[in-house]
Symmetry: C2
Subunit: 322 residues, 2 copies
């Protein structure tokens, strides 16, 4: 099967909202009047971002999900995406599965494939996603202010727990492993919550490299610091909530520096607590307050007794040793 | 050097036209009123699209150039781009050269880097480019009509000639090789010509996989056929114009099926010949009429005596054996 047949068979579908989709030199997008276009791109490489054995359907889902997660963190409504795919060889069953997982998530968010590129090469997937947000209303990393609450959505650390199980550094009961693996391989981007937080959150980021590292980006961009409560960790790890016994330090490491969570971390004024809870309820997304923004730069951690504790969590660095 | 330091050192520059650039979850773009956003993406993989020995400055240029060429083929004005980079290791001199070549071309076209992603992995480069075009004025592949002339810009086949020299299948005088190598490694996207052809050309495509193959896309999308004159080949190959003696069949193969040309192939009504020539002059871009659109589907070739000749040129297929 050649490049053009591959595209026609698996990736060419009529567009419904964009003026022009797959099949010309460019796709054409038309943001609505008063809207800005939010753009994000993520490159996934085998061995670094996914295991070679991963189910292709889950991989198709994840390749788009990690990008939709960036739109969510900006409060943008998904619109369209492009897909670049380097494949070591053409395997029809793999491509069919990949496309199925990709389009199922795309359809769930009304996000259409408008263009792309395919080539032979070491397996790599690059998705660039486009969303709409009213001019001036995007959630940025730079808006956190002293006194704001720090919130996170959903659960943190379970994806990394699954990765550790794959690596053999931890042994998990089958049910716990399957649930954690689902979090690793099939993250659900928090698009609805991101949209609901427009006008409420002062800053937001998606947690892809670990909460401590990603919140650090918000703190630096906003010129502030924060204190987080280590005691919130067991409530944030789904595996711990479901009864799995792990060393407290491991739970904290997973929750604050796990990575691959694709949850939202966001800040909002204390006066907006009811509005945050209401946005969470409307979108059926659990949220947890985990700390407070302060004027003094840096990230501080408090132990269960409310005492400062020295602990450094490096974020996941794609050029690091992790 | 970690991922974030790498981005900050080599790829983070203030944006001047876009509302938000590198450093948040998304970039923000704001097309002007009445404008559509043209989007294109290209994935370049080592060994397939460039040699491992290529000068990084030329590679940075080419990674953006091949995308700007797609904008040119749509008649779109470059606006912004994202860059995803998988690197086997961090080599500062290489990155500095790559960034220099990339930004020199970007600046020449007023096209700013607004976002991206970097990771460790087998060397791969994905650029997604954004341009503006007035709604309804994009040059498409689908507009060719019987009676239209077929035109190409600049020279064809020299990039492939350089590749053949690298492969050792042809031996070239040093000067000819250097000129051809420049065409392979440092193509100049025909952005100005693409803009000048708005309202004049009936269809356009950029020649990346060989003229015969790429024109074939125009013919299929337009529901028409075409006849090309093989005799135009020696005039289109710069190396032949400069006196290099090659077998006629090789010249024809290079010109009609070479690939990596990044010239524009376009169609226009015969009544627009003066307008085409004027657009070419205004943008200092040579153009050559190479054939005619006809109602009968398919691509026909005429020999020097004007007789039909049976010859099949496959386009370059990124999953083929080429």
């Amino acid at each position: 099967m050649g490049e053009f047949e591959l595209i026609a068979r698996f990736f060419e579908r009529p567009v419904r909202r964009s003026p022009l989709g797959v099949g010309d030199d460019c796709a054409l997008l038309q943001p609505a009047l008063g809207m800005q276009l939010a753009v994000s791109t993520d490159l996934l490489v085998e061995g670094r971002h996914f295991l070679s054995t991963v189910d292709p359907q889950r991989l198709g889902h994840k390749a788009l999900a990690v990008n939709l997660s960036d739109l969510a963190a900006c409060g943008a409504q998904p619109l369209a995406f492009t897909l670049s795919l380097a494949l070591p060889h053409v395997e029809e069953a793999w491509l069919a599965g990949f496309a199925q997982g990709l389009f199922a998530l795309a359809d769930a968010h009304g996000c259409e494939l408008v263009g792309g590129d395919t080539t032979r090469g070491p397996l790599a997937i690059n998705v660039t996603v486009f969303g709409e947000v009213p001019a001036g209303q995007a959630l940025l990393r730079s808006g956190a202010r002293p006194g704001d609450d720090v919130w996170v959505s959903g659960s943190l650390g379970d994806a990394r727990l699954a990765l550790e199980a794959f690596r053999g550094t931890v042994s998990l009961p089958q049910e716990v492993f399957e649930a954690a693996r689902q979090r690793l391989e099939r993250p659900e981007p928090r698009v609805a919550l991101g949209l609901a937080l427009r006008g409420i959150a002062s800053a937001a980021i998606d947690v892809s490299d670990g909460l401590a590292g990603d919140l650090g980006h918000v703190l630096r961009r906003s010129g502030v610091g924060a204190t987080l409560a280590l005691a919130s960790a067991p409530q944030l790890l789904a595996a711990a909530r479901s009864g799995l016994q792990l060393a407290p330090q491991m739970v904290e490491q997973l929750v604050f520096a796990g990575g691959d969570d694709y949850e939202l971390a966001f800040t909002a004024p204390a006066s907006a607590r009811d509005a945050v809870q209401s946005a969470a309820q409307r979108t059926a997304t659990p949220v947890t307050q985990v700390g407070r923004i302060e004027a003094a730069p840096g990230l501080r951690l408090l132990d269960a007794a409310g005492q400062p504790i020295a602990r450094s969590f490096g974020g996941f660095d794609h050029f690091g040793a992790s």
